[in-house]
């Protein structure tokens, strides 16, 4: 039996620009400069197939949005202001299985390296400790707004 979902420690709308139905997170649990953890319960919806499994693209997008929150929080702490970013690469990525309706996903990302506007982030999706997917994500980020 899965444990009860933890409450969000941060205001999602403040750290992630996405809104429903594209928003793929329910809560942000951890936000550090080089690490973030988010949660999402899989419910019936536009990103779930007829067998009740979350789409692969939605799984990837959830990890990417968690990374967006991490980047945003780090930028804010450094006084850099709003960042604009996009997922531009994916490597060494594998999916063991897709999560199903009723399961609670935990996304965890950690910053591996930054070089200029490109950052390499390791991302993972888990359900009750079981790793469903993991791999390396590359993001392009640039400052979109004035420094904070």
């Amino acid at each position: 039996m899965e444990s009860a979902p933890r409450e969000s420690a941060f205001d999602l709308a403040e750290y992630v620009p996405h809104r429903p139905p594209i928003l793929g997170l329910d809560a942000l649990l951890v936000l550090e400069d080089a690490r973030a953890v988010a949660r999402r319960e899989v419910r019936p919806g536009p990103d779930v197939d007829a067998q009740g499994a979350l789409w692969e693209a939605a799984l990837i997008e959830g990890i990417a949005q968690t990374a967006a929150a991490m980047h945003g929080a780090a930028a804010r702490r450094r006084g850099r202001g709003v960042l604009r970013g996009m997922l531009v690469g994916l490597s060494r990525f594998s999916i063991e299985r897709l999560p199903k309706v009723g399961e609670v996903l935990e996304y965890e990302v950690s910053l591996v390296r930054e070089l200029d506007a490109i950052s390499l982030v390791h991302g993972q999706a888990r359900v009750a400790g079981e790793v469903l997917a993991a791999g390396d994500f590359q993001f392009f980020t640039e400052q979109a707004g004035p420094p904070a």
Binding site: V88, R113, D116, Q138
Partner: protein
């Protein structure tokens, strides 16, 4: 600290195994972008691979100066020398 030849051999192995660069293309004057078809996304992967292989840190300012395979050899050699005081 590894010898210069050992550094070059390890760097070349990274280029072949991680970036699928044909061994025949590996020469010191080869441009990463023009001759080896590498882009900015490869750049960060390359730095990570070098740091992991050689257990050194390549500062961003240094990494941004790398244009050729020879530059990589020089950077790694320089970083290892700096970190071991050699």
């Amino acid at each position: 600290m590894p010898k210069r030849e050992e550094i070059e051999e390890l760097v070349n192995r990274i280029m072949v195994e991680e970036f699928e660069v044909p061994a025949s293309d590996l020469r010191a004057e080869a441009s990463l972008a023009k001759d080896l078809d590498m882009d900015s996304l490869d750049g960060v992967d390359l730095v990570v691979a070098l740091e992991k292989t050689f257990r050194c840190r390549i500062p961003e300012a240094n990494a941004k100066t790398i244009r050729t395979l020879g530059d990589i050899y020089d950077q790694v050699h320089s970083r290892l020398s700096a970190e071991t005081g050699a």
